[in-house]
Symmetry: C2
DNA sequence: ATCAATGCAAAGATTTTGCATCAAG
DNA sequence: CTTGATGCAAAATCTTTGCATTGAT
């Protein structure tokens, strides 16, 4: 049993939703690629290897479901498509450095704003469940090249 | 003369690009709506009022140009379209609280990570030119309602 | 039996592109 | 005149939806 299965299955069942073979395969794929930021099409291709009858529309529907249920985080790196990252255990995202020259995305693992969250919540009367930071600039290679 | 015109015109000219009437009108519109996050279509509609012959494709092309030239920041609030915000003077963005229930976007004016930027730059060998924080959660109204 | 989930194809929406024309240096 | 910019329409993407069918509970 994959480490995510129990909790996700439960939280789906609570809402009368099912963990179908298709959804399980998608979950497996995004778990096994937890370092990547796969697009819907890429997930579709990978899932097809183990579940050839799946349709692209199902992947789109499932990713929307997983986004609503906070199983994944939906990223936008300005390449025209949504990209997804599984949310594991701790409920906060990690963050990204995005090179504006070559588009490379580098993960940042720090807990950047844990201290600030409470302050902002109070000041703006807003209940923060997650946050995400994107840093834009030049990666090491492009800085030397440009 | 609008306060942005000088610098932007210069930085365009340096690259052999022109500040045409269409581009100037777009600039006027996004400057006059600096509190908003207008979509391309919305910009198009507003620009048409003062420049009726403009085509939608020109607005798309111009917004891409302005994004590359760092005249605007291209936002994604997961509503299916890109939304733009003019970048004025100080080169850092402000940040946003996004309600996952109703989609409301609230501006956060704090300087959140100025102290952390240098640290991250060193640690990841990355030259940060801008950053953006999105906080997700429930706004005051939705928290009471849901 | 019921109700959600699926696959497929069609439709929708946003964004990009090809091309002839226009405008400025 | 040369080169970028424009407008229009067509094309290209990505994403959603309608509908008949399937599959669990």
């Amino acid at each position: 049993m994959k480490p995510y299965s129990k909790t996700i299955k439960d939280s789906l069942k609570e809402k009368g939703l099912k963990l179908t073979p298709q959804r399980r395969s998608i979950l497996d794929v995004i778990y096994e690629n937890k370092g990547e930021h796969l697009s819907t099409e890429e997930i579709f291709e990978l899932v097809k290897e183990r579940c050839p009858e799946i349709g692209l529309a199902t992947v789109y529907r499932t990713m929307n479901l997983f986004d609503r249920e906070k199983v994944v985080y939906k990223h936008n790196f300005n390449d025209g498509k949504s990209r997804y990252e599984i949310i594991l255990g701790k409920n906060r995202q990690h963050h990204h450095l995005i090179c504006t020259e070559c588009g490379t995305v580098i993960e940042v693992e720090e807990d950047l704003l844990e201290n600030t969250v409470l302050e902002i919540e109070r000041k703006y009367s807003f209940n923060i469940t997650n946050y995400n930071v994107k840093f834009y600039g030049l990666c090491d290679i492009c800085r030397k090249r440009v």
